[in-house]
């Protein structure tokens, strides 16, 4: 592999100052499963890699019991999120997504923050987090800022990070009562595959356990960036959650999608599958909202 100097700062401030002092010649790296591939392929050629792996901080998802907020450090590996009992029991939509990213070997090393800052349209991690109304906490020379994760993605490979800024944490607001969610990645095979589509549905029910109080329908690979199908969500709100209404929401979500033909699938098929999968994930979300552990 091309030569570079590997720097291992212990604090965020140190990392930012290292990146700024080397300018264009430096690049952040966390797990490295994307950055090292890009270096090997000659797509990037940094002289300095500034590692974010040695920064002291939380490396497991953490629930604030007072506020009900879930915090996921950006340097958490996918495996640590997948194996977190907290995520397994209370955020199954996120578990659905992280357990199917890459392989065990990749998930042991690759981080959720890395998955997000790559900002690929197929980022599996982003879809459930957007459905959960997550915020991205970002740290830079000007201090800390926080934005809605759905606004974080600007285009394929582009996210809202300036110069030396670092995505440090994902914050998920408390779940509404009677909420269930599900995510599916659609592709030709299960492992080691970039999705042809990613579909996440999160539903909160009214006390009657049948009416939709709040809906989130979030799609990956259906547009240049992960996005929420707002019209479809609106259609579902206040309606009984059943096959018919979910089917209609799915149809609208398909219309809202800006799918295109690519090597992994053609546009008409993707649009059709958005409808099918929104319905399927909606029914699964309904079931999960009903069986929710108290």
């Amino acid at each position: 592999m091309r030569q570079f100097t590997y720097l291992t700062p212990k604090t965020l401030d140190e990392a930012i100052s290292l990146l700024e002092s080397h300018g264009e010649r430096a690049r952040y790296v966390a797990g490295g499963t994307d950055v090292l591939v890009k270096i090997k392929e000659g797509k990037i050629a940094p002289d300095y890699l500034v590692s974010l792996k040695h920064i002291i901080g939380q490396d497991r998802p953490f629930l604030n019991h007072e506020t009900g907020e879930l915090y996921i450090g950006a340097f958490c590996t996918h495996r640590s999120i997948e194996q977190s009992p907290l995520v397994q029991h209370h955020y199954p939509i996120l578990h659905d997504a992280v357990k199917n990213i890459g392989s065990v070997q990749i998930r042991n090393v690759a981080t959720i923050g890395g998955n997000l800052v790559n900002a690929v349209p197929s980022a599996d991690g982003a879809i459930p987090l957007i459905a959960l109304d997550a915020k991205a906490n970002i740290y830079g020379t000007k201090g800390q800022r926080s934005i809605d994760l759905r606004r974080f993605f600007l285009g394929p490979g582009q996210c809202d990070l300036d110069g030396g800024e670092i995505l440090t944490e994902i914050a998920i607001p408390p779940l509404a009562p009677r909420t269930g969610g599900a995510y599916t990645k659609h592709g030709r095979r299960e492992a080691m595959e970039l999705p042809m589509l990613g579909v996440g549905v999160l539903l909160s029910l009214e006390e009657d356990m049948t009416t939709c109080a709040k809906a989130r329908i979030c799609l990956g690979v259906a547009a240049p960036t992960p996005f929420r199908a707002l019209e479809a969500e609106k259609q579902l709100q206040g309606k009984i959650v059943n096959e018919e209404n979910l089917g209609e929401a799915g149809r609208i979500a398909g219309q809202e999608s800006k799918v295109r033909d690519s090597i992994r699938g053609v546009a008409w098929y993707r649009r059709e599958m958005v409808g099918v999968l929104v319905k399927r994930m909606g029914l699964k979300a309904l079931e999960r909202a009903k069986d929710k552990p108290k």
Binding site: M1, E41, Q105, N108
Partner: protein, 173 residues
């Protein structure tokens, strides 16, 4: 840049100078001279380079050697006993036809070991998940899964035999 790192390699504490841009795979094969760990794709797709770092399976082609500092590294060479007795997983691969050309085997066995060290009685579902990142182009995976199941206690009484020797020579079935 160069740096000194310390780590435990197959049970032996080591200290050595490495270059920052070396991958763990380069360290193992080219510097330490252990060629059991294979390079397939070099980009984390095939799993041929799988090794175990602090109990977790990782792709050594995408892992910087610098990151092994202070950790325990196990490669396929660390499995058999000093007298050459094979590890139960290795033995099972031999007995159940889990090996054909052998190129994926070290990676497969390391993925299986990382799983069984944590979950000794792992069911088939977990076995499939553990080796989802290991490609084999010979066996069709069935014998590999059988080989691991035989160790995890979920083996069939009669393993799927797909090739065996007769008096007339090798036969496939």
């Amino acid at each position: 840049m160069a740096r000194e790192i310390s780590f435990v390699f197959n049970g032996n504490p080591m200290k050595m100078m490495i270059a920052d841009h070396w991958t763990l795979l380069h360290l193992i094969r080219e510097e330490l001279g252990y060629s059991g760990t294979k390079e397939g794709c070099g980009s984390g797709e095939c799993g041929a380079c799988t090794v175990i770092v602090d109990g977790e399976a990782v792709n050594s082609c995408l892992y910087l050697a610098a990151e092994i500092d202070g950790k325990k590294l196990t490669t396929i060479e660390g499995l058999a006993a000093a007298d050459g007795t094979l590890h139960p997983i290795q033995k099972s691969f031999v007995e159940n036809g889990g090996i054909q050309c052998g190129f994926c085997s070290p990676g497969m066995i390391m993925s299986a070991k990382a799983l069984l060290d944590k979950t000794p009685n792992a069911p088939e579902e977990e076995i499939k998940e553990a080796i989802a990142g290991n490609l084999c182009r010979c066996t069709g995976y069935v014998q590999i899964i059988d080989s691991i199941k035989a160790v995890s206690g979920h083996g069939e009484d009669e393993p799927h035999v797909v090739a065996f020797k007769t008096e007339d020579g090798d036969r496939g079935e």
